[in-house]
């Protein structure tokens, strides 16, 4: 075995993994050849990450076999995977924020001097060697917690390479990147391929697959449904991924022009615990029947913006809706005033997972008629409401009494959307409305949002998926480090918006 130089071939045969009654991986076969970028395409929840965690020894498969360089391989833990030349960049980075880049990279693979002391000088040399060889620029002495995610990702890649990884698994690596950073990553990936490394690139983004993949394996509901070619059209790839024909565009009539803004945000500022402005003097307005899309890399103040509008965070500045002041009100008053809110983390902020679908559908309505009656809840009214919403929003559930946590991501999100849209709205704030949702549910949710727009509501969409922003927005506001760095028309190029997301000013 020529460690570190040649590429590795990797083969998975009949991998099956069950979690209780759920079959996450169902007899998966996959073959990765030396020196290729092999794309694993599938929707959220299709079982891609489970498969890769098996490969990396974090889960044990119930059935099946792994082969590396045609030799059977038993992976009992990450240690075995690393020894076999498999490296992994996890979707959520496995870096220790308080450690320096160097410490993170050498952890587990420490170079030591005599007496067991850490040999920082040698580790630094090794890191800089790899960094130069593949164009992965990192500062060994920077503390990781303060680095942009793009750089953290580079650290992860160096970490894998320093362990002589010949097969590199990248799990949804572009989810946190700007379009430019994605391009840079692709450049690095190509350099690695030139050097003979094999790469497994996990994603659900069709454009990226077409841009970089040598071969494509599509998985759906835990099973391989076919292989595809990068030259196939996006529609073909999507059909394979979802299992039926899907529409990738949203039909949207042109915006009604000329009306005065009804939702206005002026000089909104939010400070974090240490007094730093996480939302910095943000101003914008939205006209009736207009969708303002807020684009930006995650963690640039979008969460705080949504929470400040809802009254979940103390903020300075003013927010007005239909001429009435919204700032300084409690969340209950804001919701009661006709604001619909789809939070970005539905499991945490939007649903009570152990409560039933019916209960979740009235979480903010149970106090008043028809559901609340003299301090008790009218169970019949709650159930009738639930049955109506389940039919109207096509929520797939065994019963309205089933716990929401047992539903799929897409159906959970439909519960949230159904609840928020079931009362007369004057403003809709939707943060990541289709995160972790299958393509079918995504199209449905987008249609509902456009329907609200047709009714003349002002709508604020916050999304880190540029495709979603382009599909829905009438105007696009780009956030960077808590500021809105530009508000641009939807015809603006992807590249231009990417630059704004990285902080370039208008």
């Amino acid at each position: 075995m020529t460690k570190g130089t040649g590429g590795g071939s990797l083969e998975l045969r009949g991998i099956t993994k069950r979690f209780g009654s759920l079959v996450a991986n169902d007899g998966i076969d996959l073959e990765v050849r030396p020196g290729e970028i092999h794309c694993l395409l599938g929707e959220n929840g299709a079982g891609k990450s489970t498969l890769m965690n098996i490969l990396y020894g974090l889960y044990e498969p119930d059935e099946g076999q792994l082969l590396i360089d045609d030799e059977p391989l038993v992976v009992r833990g990450p240690r075995d995977a690393i020894a076999a030349g498999i490296g992994m960049v996890h979707q959520h980075f496995m870096l220790i924020p308080v450690f320096t880049v160097l410490e993170n990279i050498m952890l587990g693979e420490e170079r030591t001097r005599r007496g067991g002391l850490l040999d920082h000088a040698r580790a630094r040399r090794d890191v800089l060697d790899i960094s130069r060889k593949y164009g992965l620029e990192v500062d060994p002495d920077a503390v990781v917690g303060g680095l942009p995610v793009g750089v953290q990702q580079r650290v992860e890649i160096v970490k894998a390479l320093i362990r002589n990884a010949r097969v590199l698994i990248l799990d949804e690596p572009t989810a946190v990147l700007t379009p430019q950073e994605t391009e840079e990553l692709f450049t690095v990936m190509r350099a690695l391929r030139e050097a003979g490394h094999s790469i497994v690139f996990i994603t659900h983004k069709l454009k990226e697959v077409k841009a970089i993949a040598d071969r494509i394996t599509v998985i759906r509901r835990g099973a391989v449904v076919g292989t595809a070619d990068p030259s196939d059209s996006e529609a073909e790839l999507a059909a394979l991924m979802v299992g039926r024909d899907v529409r990738l565009t949203v039909d949207k009539p042109p915006a009604a022009a000329g009306a005065e803004p009804v939702f206005e945000v002026r000089n909104l500022t939010v400070l974090d615990e240490s007094g730093r402005a996480v939302l910095d003097d943000v101003s914008f307005d939205i006209r009736p029947g207009e969708i303002l899309g807020v684009a930006g890399v995650q963690g640039n103040g979008q969460t705080e913006l949504a929470e400040a509008i809802l009254g979940l965070r103390t903020a300075t500045g003013t927010i007005t809706l239909d001429g009435a002041r919204l700032s300084g009100r409690t969340p209950r008053q804001v919701l009661g005033g006709g604001v619909g809110f789809i939070p970005e983390d539905r499991g945490h902020d939007a649903l009570v997972e152990s409560a039933s679908v019916a209960e979740n559908l009235v979480l903010d309505l149970y106090r008043d008629a028809p559901f609340g009656r003299h301090g008790s809840i009218d169970v019949k009214a709650v159930q009738d409401n639930a049955e109506q919403r389940v039919a109207e929003f096509d929520i797939r559930t065994t019963s309205v009494h089933a716990a929401v946590g047992t539903l799929s991501g897409g159906n959970q999100q439909k519960v949230v959307v159904a609840r928020e849209m079931s009362r007369p709205l004057r403003l809709l704030v939707a943060a990541q409305p289709t995160r972790g949702v299958d393509v079918g549910a995504m199209a449905f949710i987008h249609e509902r949002i456009v329907a609200e727009r047709a009714l003349g509501r002002p709508i604020l969409i916050i999304s880190t998926e540029l495709d979603e922003i382009f599909a829905l927005a009438d105007r696009i506001a780009v956030m960077f480090r808590g500021k809105i760095v530009g508000i641009v028309p939807p015809e603006t190029s992807r590249e231009r918006i990417g630059l704004l997301m990285a902080g370039a000013h208008e």
């Binding site: 990396y56 690393i82 870096l95 220790i96 308080v98 952890l107 587990g108 420490e110 067991g116």
Partner: protein
């Protein structure tokens, strides 16, 4: 908010300084030209003789009180110098108090220093124990219990076997055994670690209390003797004035404690073991993905830590020449925990904190024979009072290891 805090803190410093001038400088104790004398010879052990330092108590206390006020003003005017202002303030306040307490008499300053160090030894050992545990992600509030079992085992084994070393080893092992219990329940059965620690403390107190009455005291002359390790005088260094006899003429456990501080400080920040330990305490999943065995690391650290706190227990018996007494740890394990937090989870920081708390204990011991109007019980309370103020007021925002107290469950 920040401004208000600063004003409040500086204001109270100024008020306390004025109080020091009135109470310590203008009271009857320091009046009539009473002098305060500070001696620097410790039991005549030092070969170089230094003269006593004698100051007029009244004017000295007033001057020190005025300095306290000045530091309060400095805190207000120059927020950047806040750490220095607070340190200077505390030093002057303590000096003013000592001058007042000593007025008309003499205080053996070297003796005070010695008492400080001796009091700091178990605190240092306890906080090193806590440090090894918490840096790997396990909260250990059972240090107190580990002191007790260590003290009990070392007194019994030392007395019965007649070997001090056997006693020392037994004490360390007893501490490690309690540590192993903590590790098993925390790692394997995922018991809440703070509750678990409290339970272990109660268990240790009950067990050693029972053994004390039924086993040790049944035949104290053979089973619970007052034994002690002899002092080891390091030639040359021990003859240095003031610090010589205090630092270089102590028993083996004292030297072991000093070595352990250095070893943990270097180990934690400059070796593979330390890097992995810190990784496991910060982000165990990340450590796992680079092939580090998280639970094994935690088991190993908690058990090693138990050896160290067991040694702290040995210090209370074989290190201090005392037989085992019921509940003899008297809350030192908790003060050690406070020293760990105050010292920001670093060995040298813990050492400084332990010295500060030790000094508070040293003062209460040294002032008792001087007949100050302050009641003895109040003086004995000062170390604990100092602990509360230190942890609540001075520490500010410290960051504990991120994964501390969270059980690690493999996917």
């Amino acid at each position: 908010m920040e401004r208000l805090r600063r004003h409040l803190a500086a204001g109270s410093m100024i008020v306390i300084g004025l109080f020091a001038i009135v109470a310590f400088g203008l009271g009857s104790r320091t009046g009539h030209g009473a002098k305060a004398a500070f001696g620097f010879d410790y039991l005549g052990k030092s070969s170089i003789h230094l003269p006593d330092l004698t100051v007029p108590a009244g004017p000295a206390a007033i001057g020190l009180g005025a300095l306290c006020v000045t530091f309060g003003v400095l805190r207000l005017a120059r927020p950047a110098l806040q750490t220095w202002a607070i340190a200077g303030f505390l030093a002057c306040l303590v000096a003013a108090f000592l001058t007042w307490g000593t007025a008309g008499q003499s205080l053996a300053f070297t003796g005070l220093l010695n008492a400080t160090l001796l009091a700091a030894v178990p605190l240092v050992l306890g906080s090193l124990c806590g440090l090894l545990c918490e840096r790997s992600g396990i909260i250990n509030v059972a240090i107190e219990g580990q002191f007790l079992v260590g003290a009990c085992a070392s007194a019994y084994v030392g007395s019965v076997s007649g070997s001090l070393w056997a006693g020392l080893i037994a004490g360390c092992l007893a501490g490690a055994l309690l540590g192993a219990l903590l590790a098993v329940f925390a790692n394997r059965y995922l018991v809440g670690q703070v509750v678990l620690g409290v339970v272990l403390n109660v268990f240790a107190a009950g067990l050693t209390g029972f053994l004390y009455e039924r086993l040790l005291q049944a035949d104290p002359n053979h089973r619970n003797k007052a034994l002690t390790f002899a002092d080891i005088r390091i030639p040359g260094l021990a003859s240095l004035p003031v610090v010589g006899p205090v630092l270089f003429d102590q028993n083996i456990i004292f030297y072991l404690a000093v070595l352990l501080i250095a070893a943990v400080q270097i180990g934690l920040f400059h070796t593979r073991w330390g890097l992995r330990t810190r990784a496991v305490g910060e982000h165990p999943t990340a450590a796992e993905t680079v092939g580090i065995r998280v639970l094994a690391t935690r088991y190993r650290n908690v058990i090693m830590a138990g050896l160290i706190s067991g040694l702290g227990g040995v210090w209370m018996t074989l290190g201090s020449g005392a037989p085992f007494g019921k509940d003899m740890a008297a809350g030192q394990g908790f003060i050690a925990l406070a020293a760990l937090i105050f010292g920001r989870w670093s060995p040298l920081g813990s050492l400084s904190a332990a010295l500060l708390f030790g000094f508070a204990q040293g003062i209460s011991i040294s002032l008792q024979p001087l007949n100050t109007p302050v009641p003895t019980a109040f003086l004995s309370m000062t170390p604990y009072l100092a602990t509360i103020f230190a942890v609540a007021g001075l520490v500010g925002h410290v960051r504990a290891p991120a994964a501390e107290g969270i059980p690690y469950v493999k996917a």
